[in-house]
């Protein structure tokens, strides 16, 4: 542990979607910012497993229905005015659309199609429509079977009708977290990765934050540590909440023109399933629920995978099991102090707990603004920077350039013409560039360039990518890892083991 001490005005602990959005928001002002993230990439915490819905329209109503514990009074419960979470979600959504061209990120709006199987479902749909009208939500249409088929020709014949909500949108959350952080960095914020906060000492007028990477002296601290926000709060003795939640398991399928909208069944209390078309041609099947018992346990289990496997075909029989690409887990979290809402509070001078409850990705930009206001109330001076650049500088993916631009690049550097990843069409030069801006592991290359993300999951490009990384870094492929730490990929050179025996 080094004895170095870095001074800053604001320290953000955690570079998930929340921390990263806060960093970008604050980088609009003349403020010193250090974002401390324990992983080597932003957005690899809870945000990584997020299915990416930027809710609009009826989504909050239907999640109310799913959460409803049963009994009478559902109607009244649904009529409650929107809480902080729902309000933030709706504002955040507008901001995602506004930010997409600035941050050069994608947001698609496939809309949500709710499928009704029987009379009871149709009644629920009428109720949702009625409440949507009451809340002034537009873009909602009730459909009969024919209307369903027009939207999704492959939908299961058992569905007799449905409801279409044009508002639902989808993003790739980790990619957005990276974008927020990069744009913040381009505007002067310090994004400090592989830096885990181990302890915080409250001093006179500042907090001393101890990490594996030196100490940080900060006047203001924002606790955006996601799953571990309770532990951080505990370090300054303000943990009157715990981060709790569910472990969820999800699947990814290739989307071979199977679906074009988000599909869900009519929500019932404690029951919901989704098929989500993503920004890059796959379908996320979401998700099972089980209690979260261990925050480090990201394993998937056979019983849940088996259960999930039956869902897609139940909605769209044509979806072939052969097109399963991946399975993963995520933690759907809430704070125990106010389980159905976000926790945004200032328990100590200059110390803010920013702990979202799922869905907490969609509200991130709105939460970031709210946090800036809170900091100002705490005495932080927010003077706008005249040189703030809202545009994130990002090389577009080579394969997406128009032909003339591609060819100009190839002429300047033929390594652009050498395609290394066959599924996502990533060029050798893009891998090199990713290494040059700091990617050190296979997983980082995957997120930065998409190489290894496609249907073959790296079966073809891994050996090439390792070779390029090793050359670029001047190390042996034996030194490379999948995700840092002990996650080495290759054991030894051939013959070495044999000779050692």
């Amino acid at each position: 542990m080094s004895g170095r001490v870095t001074e800053t005005q604001v320290a953000i602990i955690g570079g998930g979607i929340i921390g990263a959005a806060v960093a970008r928001e604050l980088s609009k002002y003349k403020v010193d910012i250090c974002l401390l993230e324990k992983e080597n990439v932003c957005g690899f915490g809870i945000t990584k497993a997020c299915q990416g819905l930027v809710h609009g329209g009826i989504a909050y109503l239907s999640s109310r229905i799913v959460k409803f514990q049963g009994g009478k009074g559902l109607k009244d419960y649904l009529r409650h005015p929107f809480n902080l979470k729902e309000r933030m979600g709706n504002i955040g959504r507008e901001e995602y659309f506004a930010l997409a061209p600035l941050l050069r990120e994608e947001i698609i709006q496939p809309g949500r199609l709710m499928l009704a199987e029987n009379k009871e479902d149709l009644e629920m749909i009428d109720l949702i429509k009625e409440l949507a009208d009451l809340q002034g939500i537009r873009g909602i249409t009730v459909l009969d079977r024919k209307g369903l088929e027009e939207k999704e020709p492959l939908v299961h014949p058992k569905y007799i009708g449905g409801l279409f909500d044009a508002n639902e949108a989808v993003v790739l959350p980790t990619s957005w977290a990276i974008a927020f952080a990069e744009n913040a960095e381009q505007n002067g914020a310090h994004i400090i990765k592989e830096t885990e906060v181990k302890g915080i000492e409250e001093k006179k007028g500042y907090y001393l934050i101890k990490t594996n990477n030196g100490s940080f002296k900060a006047e203001y601290v924002i606790n955006a540590a996601g799953l571990f926000a309770d532990e951080i709060a505990d370090m300054v003795g303000t943990a009157d909440f715990a981060v709790s939640g569910w472990k969820t398991q999800l699947l990814i399928f290739e989307n071979r023109d199977y679906i074009h909208h988000l599909l869900c069944i009519v929500p019932h209390p404690q029951k919901g399933r989704l098929l989500i078309p993503t920004t890059h041609n796959s379908i996320v099947v979401a998700h099972t629920f089980e209690p979260m018992t261990n925050k480090e346990d990201r394993s998937t289990t056979k019983d849940k995978i088996d259960e999930l496997m039956t869902w897609p075909q139940d909605m769209v029989p044509a979806i072939s099991h052969k097109h399963l690409v991946s399975s993963f887990t995520g933690f759907l979290t809430f704070n125990t102090k106010n389980p159905s809402d976000h926790l945004l509070e200032c328990p100590k001078r200059g110390f803010i707990n920013a702990v979202v409850s799922a869905p907490g990705m969609a509200p991130a930009p709105a939460m970031a603004r709210e946090i800036a206001t809170m900091l100002a109330e705490q005495g932080l001076e927010l003077t706008t920077r005249s040189d703030f650049n809202p545009y994130r500088f990002k090389e577009p993916r080579f394969i997406e350039l128009p032909t003339a631009e591609k060819n100009a690049k190839i002429q300047a550097d033929p390594r652009f013409g050498h395609i290394v990843c066959r599924c996502e069409h990533v060029s050798e030069q893009e891998i090199r560039a990713a290494v040059r801006v700091g990617a050190r592991t296979l997983d980082e290359i995957k997120f930065e360039t998409l190489a290894g993300m496609g249907r073959c999951q790296g079966g073809f490009c891994t050996s090439r990518v390792l070779g390029i990384m090793a050359e670029e870094l001047g190390v042996s492929p034996l030194d490379l890892t999948k995700k840092g730490g002990g996650s080495y990929i290759l054991e030894s050179k051939t013959k070495e083991l044999r000779e050692a025996i």
Binding site: S299, T300, I305, M309, H425, C456, Q457, I489, E499
Partner: protein, 421 residues
């Protein structure tokens, strides 16, 4: 953008693509482009440094690279234009194509005919849904083969291999010879997935444990694989309770199947056989799009490279005929129907009046088998799902089928009285 107008474009310079190019040349096509994304021709053969190639075609026992070399030599003595480092990125229904390479940049190809020879890819851990954590140390067997044989690196010390496809068994022997330990080859079926020859020569000869009717149920380890859990399965491939046991290992190889690589075909609107994953073809190996043919593993995953080469030669000749307007197509067609005990059969349709070669894979092992193709019968001592059987019918064998428009292929055990005959 450069545009290449050619008689024939072949995608992939593995054994299928090379044989196709050589034969198209022989049958008179002049202007041929052979497109390969790797830095060298030969496809998968490069990493298959073991022997067992060419036993039928050359009546010799060659290694993969030796087999490839014979075709590379033939190819370079022709004027076929071989474009290496060239990735075909798009194929459209009108047969135009887009490709990228360092020399020409992104360019367009307008061919009269096309042969698909893109080979296959391996199924990954996720496409078969093995639960557990996501550590480093999980590889498909083919990737491991490339790392060991081409790049010179061993990906682990203690291996468990899931699946007993040929690549899995060959890799078991390979890493064993490198001084690593193979704790087990785990196979869900009651028999190995690859050739019996490989079971004997790669596993039994080296005392590598083979666990049939077992599967991997979970993977352990956070940073790197630390072990797997395996369990016995019943006849429905359901896991039998209380048979689970842990095996410590630092590397898991998957040899759980190959899938024909047909992204480009799908983009072009080529219909695929949902069972095989390759294009639906007629006996000329022509797809539903006129002038687009398919050969080798892109069509169906062959066990033997010799069959891949033969596919390539056929499509080369047929593409030449097509370009010359000489491919004979009848007004009617016969649909080939897979019947009892048949897993896959190609071709899917019969459109001409020449002899037809069928390639059949059965559903389960059948001893004293009788294969029926329409009225044509052939006896086999044993038919196994791990091997494709070829039978050729004369035009006259098909006479009766033109009326009904279909022919059924089936296979069953011979009845008692017949077995001695």
């Amino acid at each position: 953008m450069i545009t290449q107008t050619v008689d024939l474009a072949i995608i992939g310079a593995g054994p299928a693509g090379m044989a196709a190019a050589i034969s198209a040349k022989k049958y008179g096509l002049e202007n041929i482009l052979l497109l390969e994304r790797a830095e060298y021709p030969g496809g998968l053969l490069h990493q298959c440094i073991h022997n067992g190639f060419g036993l039928h075609y050359f009546k010799e026992d060659l290694t993969g690279p030796e087999y490839a070399e014979r075709f590379i030599n033939r190819l370079t003595s022709t004027n076929v234009k071989l474009c290496l480092d060239t990735m075909v990125t798009h194929l459209y229904p009108d047969r135009s194509m887009i490709a990228i390479n360092p020399e020409w940049g992104e360019f367009k190809i307008l061919p009269k005919a096309i042969i698909l020879a893109m080979g296959c890819r391996e199924k990954s851990r996720f496409s078969i849904g093995i639960p557990g954590s996501r550590p480093a140390g999980i590889f498909t067997a083919g990737l491991a083969q490339k790392l060991v044989n081409v790049d010179g690196y061993l990906p682990g010390k203690e291996f468990v291999i899931l699946g007993s496809g040929d690549i899995g068994m060959i890799m078991a022997r390979r890493v064993h010879l490198e001084g690593a330990t193979v704790k087990a080859v785990v196979e869900i079926m009651p028999h190995v997935g690859g050739l019996i020859r490989n079971e004997v020569q790669c596993l039994h000869d080296f005392d590598i444990p083979l666990l049939l009717e077992h599967t991997v149920t979970e993977i352990y380890g956070n940073d790197r694989v630390e072990g797997v859990k395996i369990a016995r399965v019943d006849t429905n491939q359901e896991i039998i309770k209380d048979t689970e046991q842990g095996i410590a290992c630092d590397c898991l190889l998957l040899s759980v199947g190959l899938i024909p690589e047909n992204e480009l075909s799908l983009e072009a609107g080529i219909e695929l056989d949902s069972q095989i994953g390759g294009p639906i073809v007629d006996e000329y190996l022509q797809t539903n799009i006129d002038g687009i043919f398919a050969a080798g593993n892109v069509l169906q995953v062959w066990d033997l490279v010799d069959n891949v080469t033969l596919d390539g030669e056929r499509t080369g000749a047929n593409a030449a005929k097509y370009a010359a307007g000489e491919l004979k197509i009848q007004p009617e067609e016969i649909t080939v129907v897979p019947g009892e005990n048949i897993r896959t059969v190609t071709p899917h349709r019969i459109v001409g009046a020449e002899k037809v070669e069928f390639a059949v894979r059965v559903q389960r092992p059948i001893e004293k088998a009788e294969l029926l193709v329409g009225d044509y019968r052939k006896k086999y001592r044993v038919m196994s799902p791990t091997e494709v059987v070829k039978v050729t019918l004369k035009p006259s064998d098909l006479d009766a089928c033109w009326e009904s428009g279909q022919i059924t292929v089936s296979c069953s055990e011979r009845r008692k009285e017949e077995t001695h005959g």
